[in-house]
Symmetry: C2
Subunit: 238 residues, 2 copies
Amino acid sequence: MLPSENKYLTNVSFDTVIFGFTGEELKILILEYQNSGLFALPGGYIRRDENLLDAAKKGVMKRTGLKKIQLEQFHTFGKLNRSDPESSKTIAKGLGYEMPNDHWVLDRFVTIGYYALIDYNQVRPTPNKFSDSINWYSINNLPPLMMDHEEIVQKALEAIRNDLGTKLFGTNLLPEKFTMKELRKVYETILNKKLRRTTFQRKMLSMDILTRHEKLYTGAANKAPYLYSFNKKKANKT
Amino acid sequence: MLPSENKYLTNVSFDTVIFGFTGEELKILILEYQNSGLFALPGGYIRRDENLLDAAKKGVMKRTGLKKIQLEQFHTFGKLNRSDPESSKTIAKGLGYEMPNDHWVLDRFVTIGYYALIDYNQVRPTPNKFSDSINWYSINNLPPLMMDHEEIVQKALEAIRNDLGTKLFGTNLLPEKFTMKELRKVYETILNKKLRRTTFQRKMLSMDILTRHEKLYTGAANKAPYLYSFNKKKANKT
DNA sequence: CATTATTGTATCAATTTGCTACAATAAAAC
DNA sequence: GTTTTATTGTAGCAAATTGATACAATAATG
């Protein structure tokens, strides 16, 4: 039941930071391994017969239940001491296996980091067979993560801050149709600062990447906002 | 003389795109393997007892003769078919070795791409023991590169375009002191477009990251330009 | 000492962004 | 119904940034 060596590349793995937006804050999916108290990013190994990107995509699909996923590679982590064989042994033990000391997963690993931005409400978090839970955690309130996974999360955050605006964004964190306020909230949360309401709206509209739809009547005692969606044809011309 | 397995991580390598600026164009260093007609980026394997970044740094140091090198990781390449065992065999054959079919360097590799920006005139290009030459090639006139190395170069170019301005730049491609015109030329070459002379100068000066030094008298029949250097303290506060 | 090419800035126009104001609601309160 | 309240959408002007032009200040040259 432990992964067999000849099926996978050795010394290489991937880890994914899967972001969701609740409307108020950014959250990421964290696995908890059985009977070990160890928390980790979802990740995995690369089969010898698949592309690196496909391996990562498959991993995210399995954890989220989503089919179409936008994944972006952001950094590869290769410090000498980043791997921790004790953690792997603890995980195996928690599963009821005794891991031999020369098992390949106890070797040193270089891991490629990917981030995914997905619609929080469409996800059906699904643990893998080694873990008994997978849960959303606010990025401001993460459990202690194993190995260098906290560093990986920090790098992912930097990456989405940098990519926001260049690679078209907010899209993937929101449902198909959204209000301008929701979109602004996404930007504010990722950038971790307030944005001017009117300037943001003007900028977004002037970019000519949004399609306006019907109004959204929420029942609130005020003017109803329009719904927008990203006009993908125009948006990709950037 | 072929690299021994137990010293290195398997299935992982690094490749470096080393940029230099001649004053007119961007060039990169390309290795030519002996008696094989194969051109490649400088790269290597990661020793089990060293950090990934150190491995790449050491590689660039050996190829350039430089001690202080700024290296930036930009992308990791992991497509299923990117490795080409035939090339490796040809290289070994050119060196007078017969490579056994089960040799680990013939296996599939995931490679981590780094770029370096260095002072063209300070470099002493030094071939490795497997190659008989290492030369500067204009990025607009590269020889056909082996495997996916052309894709790696393209990604490196994208990366330096994106990083220009955010991560402080131009610095490393120019000598300690440089004129405003030289700095602008660097930007123009990387971005592949003309920049307005006066606006560029105003912008650079207003950023308060340059120190002005003495004038440079070239013998030309016109006003001599000032020399500038980057004020690293202020520059890093961005 | 006039000529020539280039550099460093000033100046003003054009564009973009910051800020404030205000009309247009959607529902609740009266 | 009418008034009240909270928000949305956008206009309008100020402030800041960028674009474009002009011009004084040189460093040789003849």
